[in-house]
Subunit: 154 residues, 2 copies
């Protein structure tokens, strides 16, 4: 709907990151460019360019100061590999949900997708005779992760 200044600034930075894996900018200049207070730049950085979303911020104060925004490449591969690893062990419902939540934080999946996946490893879904729920849960989650790793969606 009505884009906020923060959204616009986010877009601008994203676009700047299209070509390169990092950009360096002046907080004051950027603020002036968007006619906002400098601290709004920090707000955008803190809410949108977080580590969870795959960015790292470096900066320097004082004369000649700057802000550098770096897009981590390979960010999610490590995470996914790690998550997949956890799935070699049986997982409780809570543990499984935790992994899924992290996927959302990292923007690998949407809230909606998360809820769908959670329902696939719910107690009800795994309602089966013997107590192999946890093993099954990790199995199922592992397949979802593999799918995400491959990323071969149409």
């Amino acid at each position: 709907m009505n884009k906020t200044i923060s959204d616009t600034i986010e877009e601008f930075i994203m676009a700047s990151l299209d070509d390169d894996d990092f950009i360096e900018l002046s907080r004051n200049d950027l603020a002036k460019f968007f006619s906002c207070v400098p601290s709004q730049i920090n707000y955008v950085l803190n809410t949108r360019f977080t580590v969870n979303r795959g960015f790292v911020i470096e900066s320097q104060r004082g004369g000649g100061g700057y802000i550098k925004i770096v897009r981590m490449q390979d960010n999610n591969n490590n995470f996914l590999t790690n998550a997949l690893n956890m799935c070699t062990q049986p997982l409780s419902l809570t543990e499984g949900a935790q992994i899924i939540n992290h996927m959302v934080e990292r923007r690998l999946i949407s809230e909606r997708e998360a809820e769908l996946i959670k329902s696939t490893i719910s107690v009800k879904a795994l309602n089966n005779p013997i107590n192999i729920d946890n093993k099954l849960r990790s199995n199922i989650l592992a397949q979802v992760i593999i799918k995400l790793m491959k990323g071969d969606f149409k």
Copy 2:
């Protein structure tokens, strides 16, 4: 039978949905336009634009907040009830995939979501001792369907 404000608002939103599958609007603006309190918009949404009637609502608070109303492709209740019914019986991988594909056709889920869900009922995911795969598969799919029916996504 006199039209209420709620009816008028409903009509307005319906008309807006004529062209597109979704609209985004500002609760405050709409309330102002119809000279009612903002919470009346919620009332209309809660009573008329329910999942049962084939709508999904998304929203965001705070500055730049909005309300998004999405029309699901025709009313899917019959379809979902039917699918859920199939899930009382064991399902082969092919049968499961078929149901999922239909969900995509009906725009209940995206291609991406479909692939994620397919991976949860894949042979690999259900790789467990005895041959209760098919029962498990229908169980899992049933939970996904129930989730979709409830539509209680954040």
